[in-house]
């Protein structure tokens, strides 16, 4: 299996060599199909509003107090050079084309590794895609979809009906980011917009493309056109495709596809998906995912609007450490056999998490697994009075077995404080529900709910740095206990980023900075980026990753002082901003049972009973 941690790009693009044209599927079908794909996928668009205007990043001089020796010197000046913005570092890898400069009539394939390998057949595919695009230019789609139209209104019931969208309509094409999931047999499994049925031919084309490239012993990874990036991810029997006009990097988009894959795994487990498709190649997985589309929809909205996914870190609610400790102790005391995680959430942010001892020694809880859990809670919140008991797999913890999640709100009818208890025992509902009563009781005695209600995220003004508008700070393993859970801290987005549009714009800027920092071809440690309406500085060291946003008038010297001050402030507030020492409890008489290695008694529950339905 390929390795694909989402932050580390591997930087291969379309690598295609000499696939025999006559196989699977016939070329003329492919051609026809590709033009179909093109019609759907590559609307002609009016020039995109490039938000980044100028960007210089040069070796940096570090905030004096924190200079790790390996950092470079910052002596950049803002240069207004839009064309060159992606090429500012003196570059040795000229083959790393950037999107901007290669938007040529033939579709501008950006492809870090493709240059050497690309040959006739590769060009064929790309040309087909490009042709499809050209054919379409007469259609005249106006503007590009505003990201906030999609991410900002996720609650609106009107948008719940994305599934009914007319897939031939312009509005469908204009969505900023399409996500498709299909099986290797080309059967549609999920589409973010429009029904899978209506898109089955489009998905068929995608699969044709994938297997076409595969037939030449290659893997298709991405296709670039003028306005779109198409990213492919194959995981076992599933193929995930993202068609995005968001200008995100291929690595970021692939990371997002991976989240989609993990969410599917969290519902079905990897083992049962493999088994299902071993049994029946053209199984319609929608049978099993029916009703889960909203969970995937919700995930994609979160991915677009919540930087936790980009940073692969958890955002916890700032809380006085004494209060957090007392909550942890409450959770620590309310245990039962086979309980492995107790998680308390308020306002969709983590308050505290307590883990079973052997589990914590064995492994750490991956942020992605927590993100999936939080998304599940968000998606199941409609009928909040009940106590939910559902199987769930934590794909990074163990992709092949289920946990059983108990979900209950502690403050009905407001339903902002949520308790999540995970057990390895399918039958443990009543015992786990009993833990909730104990927790409720203890929280009542300590008046915890009203204290939690007062907790809130903080304003950047509390840092006391005038030009600083926003930041995201993600420490690495400092102190050692952070290793338990990767976290980041970030203030509320306030004016001028209070509207959904502006929030998304700032997030896009962060995504851009992130892609530069984590560029597979040329990773950077420090970027000073002067944009039109703000100045951003991103900095990664061995101790942390930091993204800051300043007013446009800030000087470099100011920014550096500000960051020094910010780091000092964070240090001071550390206990409140982060979960410092994730507590533990011990619930397993037989420790190996619940740990990652001990799959013995869980394996038989992996199929959760539905394999018999095949």
């Amino acid at each position: 299996m390929e390795r694909d941690g989402h932050q580390e790009g591997e930087g291969q693009g379309v690598i295609i060599r000499n696939p025999p044209l006559e196989i699977n599927p016939p070329a003329d079908t492919l051609a026809t199909s590709l033009s179909l794909l093109g019609n759907h996928m590559f609307p002609d668009q009016v020039a995109r509003d490039d938000r980044a205007t100028a960007d210089t990043q040069e070796p940096g001089e570090l905030p004096p107090s924190e200079v790790p020796a390996q950092e470079q010197h910052l002596d950049a000046e803002p240069v207004s050079n839009q064309e060159n913005q992606l090429e500012t570092e003196e570059t040795d890898n000229a083959e790393c084309q950037n999107n901007e400069s290669t938007e040529t009539a033939n579709g501008g394939t950006k492809d870090d590794a493709a240059d050497n390998d690309q040959n006739d057949s590769g060009e064929f595919v790309v040309t087909m895609l490009a042709k499809a695009k050209l054919e379409e230019q007469g259609i005249g789609v106006k503007g590009r979809s505003s990201p906030l139209l999609e991410a900002g209104t996720q609650e609106s019931p009107a948008l719940m009906s994305h599934r009914d969208e007319d897939v031939t309509a312009d509005s469908w094409r204009q969505h900023r980011k399409h996500i498709f999931v299909l099986s290797e047999a080309g059967k549609p499994i999920y589409s973010r917009y429009g029904s899978e049925e209506a898109l089955s031919s489009t998905m068929g084309v995608m699969m044709a493309l994938v297997s076409f490239v595969q037939s030449g012993d290659n893997i298709i990874r991405s296709v670039y056109s003028e306005k779109h990036t198409v990213v492919f991810l194959q995981k076992g029997p599933l193929v995930l495709v993202c068609v995005s006009s968001s200008r995100q990097s291929e690595e970021q988009l692939r990371g997002e596809l991976l989240y989609v894959y993990y969410q599917i795994i969290s519902m079905l487990t990897q083992a049962s998906i493999s088994r299902i498709f071993e049994h029946k190649k053209n199984y319609d997985l929608r049978r099993l995912l029916a009703g889960s589309e909203k969970i995937l929809d919700g995930l994609l909205n979160l991915v677009d609007s919540d930087p936790s996914f980009l940073l692969a870190a958890i955002h916890c609610l700032p809380l006085a450490s004494s209060l957090r400790d007392s909550l942890s102790q409450i959770l620590q005391k309310a245990i039962t056999t086979n309980l492995v995680f107790s998680i308390l959430i308020a306002k969709n942010q983590l308050l505290t998490i307590v883990q079973e001892k052997t589990v914590i020694e064995d492994t750490r809880l991956e942020p992605a697994d927590v993100h999936l859990l939080l998304n599940l809670i968000g998606a199941s919140s409609a009928f909040q009075a009940g106590e939910i008991w559902t199987p769930i797999c934590l794909p990074l913890f163990n992709p092949d077995c289920y946990f059983y999640a108990y979900i209950s709100y502690l403050d009905p009818p407001e339903c902002t404080v949520c308790l999540l208890l995970l057990s390895t025992d399918k039958e443990a509902f009543y015992a786990v529900a009993d833990c909730k009563r104990k927790i409720e009781e203890a929280m009542c005695a300590q008046n915890s709910l009203s204290l939690i209600a007062k907790a809130q995220s903080y304003s950047v003004s509390q840092v006391g740095v005038s030009d600083l508008r926003h930041f995201m700070y993600k420490p690495f393993d400092v102190p050692d206990n952070y290793r338990q859970l990767t976290q980041f801290t970030s203030p509320e987005m306030e004016a001028p980023y209070s509207s959904e549009e502006e929030k998304m714009r700032l997030l896009d800027l962060y995504r851009y900075m992130h892609s530069r920092i984590h560029s597979s071809s040329r990773p950077l440690k420090l970027i000073y980026h002067v944009a039109e309406r703000e100045t951003l500085l991103a900095w990664v060291t061995s101790k942390f990753e930091l993204y800051t946003c300043f007013s446009p008038l800030v000087t470099k010297a100011c920014a550096i002082t500000a960051i020094t001050k910010l780091l000092r402030w964070i240090k001071k507030e550390e206990d409140r901003l982060f979960i410092r020492y994730p507590p533990k409890y011990s619930t397993t008489p037989n420790p190996s049972k619940s740990s990652r290695g001990g799959k013995s008694d869980q394996q038989d529950s992996t199929d959760n009973g539905f394999l018999s339905l095949l």
Binding site: L288, G291, T390, Y430, E441, F610, L613
Partner: protein, 262 residues
């Protein structure tokens, strides 16, 4: 003891089964909250405690998705009543009851009673639209108290609409006739090996409801509550001898017993 700790001890267990989207969550929501609002597809199963007179009734609302079938028998374990729900506008949803859901009830209590409920009858039957006010159904209407006084047609089989002109204007084709549900009821009794004569009659156990208007919803739940009363009393009696309620009847280990005492 603080309020939160006042344990309500469930006396009896009811389970809602049926394909997704037939309206199980909506029915429960209508009954407990007197509202009809947008639901999100249920994940796994959701447990509710309903106070009914001096009794505490636990109700499991299940997802109905194949994905969660592995837990179906767990949700049904020891149940005193199973509500098999279908959508009157969808024939397949009735067929699924027999094909997929009936076998999940094998873990139910030996004297479990079965109700078959055809929901969304507001779409096909003007009578079921009566309690709807003229403004149509708003997301959050709470003022449906009047529907409780509406004469409940408990045992009569609703006849097809005499006139297609319904209050909302549109009626959808009714794919499942009441007789079909009653026939299924007979087959369920046979599956369970029960005598038709000694069991509750189909006319009494087959309901047509609308979670949207509230039509027949209270009647459904209250009929069932009445019917499980003997079971409640028997359980309470048993518990005089044994002070803990064992909701996990199949598990022997006493340490595993849920402690539902204060």
């Amino acid at each position: 003891m603080p309020e939160a700790s006042k344990m309500k001890k469930p006396d009896v267990k009811l389970v809602l089964l049926g394909d997704m989207n037939v309206g199980k969550t909506s029915l429960l929501h209508r009954y407990t909250d007197r509202k009809f609002k947008d639901t999100v597809s249920t994940v796994g199963g959701a447990f509710f405690l309903k106070q009914w007179g001096p009794y505490n009734i636990s109700i499991w609302d299940t997802a109905g998705r194949e994905q969660f079938h592995g837990l179906g028998s767990m949700y049904c374990r020891g149940a005193s009543a199973v509500i098999l729900t279908y959508d009157v506008t969808n024939w397949q949803s009735l067929a699924e009851l027999e094909e997929r859901f009936l076998s999940l009830t094998d873990t139910a209590s030996h004297d479990c009673i079965f109700a078959i409920v055809g929901n969304k009858v507001d779409l096909t039957d003007p009578k079921a639209q009566l309690s709807q006010d003229s403004s149509g159904v708003s997301e959050d209407q709470t003022e449906h108290e009047e529907e409780r006084t509406e004469p409940q047609v408990l045992s009569s089989c609703p006849t097809p609409p005499a006139s297609p002109a319904s209050l909302s204007g549109i009626t959808v084709h009714k794919q499942v006739a009441h007789e079909d549900a009653m026939a299924l009821y007979g087959r369920i009794l046979r599956y369970k090996g029960l005598e038709e004569k000694s069991s509750l009659p189909a006319e009494r156990m087959c309901f047509e409801t609308s979670a949207k208007t509230g039509y027949n919803v209270d009647a459904l739940f209250e009929t069932l509550f009445d019917l499980v009363l003997p079971s409640i009393l028997r359980k309470r009696n048993e518990n005089q001898q044994c002070p803990t309620i064992d909701l996990e009847e199949c598990r022997g280990a006493s340490s595993k017993r849920a402690r539902f005492c204060c």
